[in-house]
Amino acid sequence: MRGIYTEKMLEKLLFQSLIGLSFSMYLWLLAAGLTLVFGVLGVLNFAHGSLFMLGAYATFTLYGKLGLNFWLSIALSLISVGIIGAILERLFIRRIYDIDLAYQLILTFGFILIFDDLVKMIWGGVAMIPPMPSFFEGNLSVLGRPFPIYNLFIILAGIAVAIILWLILEKTWWGRMIRASASDREMASAIGINIPILFTTVFVFAAMLAALGGALGTPVRVVAPGIGTAMIIQAFVITVIGGLGNLKGAFVGALIVGILTSFGILLFPVFELFIIFVVMAIILMVKPEGLFGK
């Protein structure tokens, strides 16, 4: 009797962690860009969550409102958020590379205020849930429970991004330039890397990653002003847990936070948010440099 019970519990936990895994992937996409920007540019970007939100809104408009093809909508959203990212970096972020952390946070916080109100002005303040593309409808049977195909797609997409990111950083010329300037900006500049252009491309790339997270979430998550603000703190948590500027750590951090969140909902439905921050505080106190920090 007891054996059956624990087996069921185990199944439940396993299933729950699969659900958590799909949530982890949104966090990972957000945290990956945040980590890249911090690791390479040295800027802690509060407004990164707003780029996530803009990606979601762009996809919602193109796919949900105008009825464009799902993939095309995502691609167009990435491009448009990428352009916004380029403008942001060229005009503003560029000027705060070397200033105090407090000013960086407040400047990017200013952009949160701007973007949040801007989407309210354009799209209205109502929460919106767009339809699901038909080829993703339906469920798989996992451990005898229905598991949405879309969640599986999100998990695979997140892992794919992780692999592609790793390949880009390790195997391409651009990746090498990024790693070089992350470890020593001046030296990289001295051997002929054009740092300003490199930084713009990194920021745009990070913005597109955030937009991808927002875009992929549109069919299942609510699109509303403030979703960026809600996600950014968790992404901060992950970035710190992983060791600031460490992508491998960010990936593991996203898995931890996502799965913990889903367990938290199951076991302590009331204090799920509390637990996430307890975990973050404990890791910060015990290992301030993060799980994978240097």
Partner: protein, 320 residues
Amino acid sequence: MMKLKIFLLAALILFLLFLPAFAGKYLLYMTIHILILSVFALGFNLLLGYTGLLSFGQAGFFAMGAYASAKILLVVPSLLLGTIAGMVAGGISALVLGYLCVRHTRIYFSMLTLSFGMMIYSLAWKWREVTGGDDGLVGIPRAPFDIPGILSINMNPMGNYYYFVLVISLIAIFILYRIVNSPFGLTLKGIRDSENRVAFAGISIRNYRLLSFTIAGLYAGLAGSFLPPLENTVTPPLAHWTHSAEPVMVTLLGGIHTFSGPIVGSVLFYLIKDIIVRYTQYWLIWFGSIVVFLVLVFRGGIVIFFTERIWPLLKKQQRR
């Protein structure tokens, strides 16, 4: 310069004292909010400007003060008791959490305070039995200022409550002024500028940081305790990290290396808000733009800008 400063200060205090004589209810209400934010931000600046620690969780202590004062006022109708409870709640929680935070500096300190602040937020949001959940606590009375056997002042008129907040705020600000100009304040500045040197002088850096953190918490709690009698309600967003950004913003706006910076910043904050809201409901777009502009252009803060740029210019012209 010094004479002018004292003159300006006296004029300002006189103005504040006589404000209810000619101001309407709305102006008094706004001034109370400015005072609350000033006290909140001044405490915060003891950490940022004087100790060199950026806390992103001050709203947590503010909310501790607000909820504690609300809880007391719902049971005992005594304004002073509520205020004291708020201060104590802010101070004690800052002492306990600060013990865990001050071991770390820079970004780690900021992230740690952020997560503690968000813990308090999630408690306020979800612990329905105590905090009323997302509805918050409602129907908090603006209890009379009551010292049993001596006096009892009705606080219902806005003017009376304004004087209560004003007097306590001025006392608190004066005490903080003395603190930052005391040997303790100098030690904090020393820690900010060169941690190692202060440590070599045999001073326990952690204890000083902890004390500074606790004082900031006391001030946040005090500021928080002013709010429930004013609004008759407290809600969880008070503890949210976006509220923690407020003292950071106004302090940077006014200037972190001047004592009056946070006060000037608070005045500007409400002034800007009040003006923009008249024209558009999307005031945050404009406020955000102003914040961005200020960070890019006036990084030293408004106060420094005036004393170092505008003031010498005026003086030069006088001499001609």
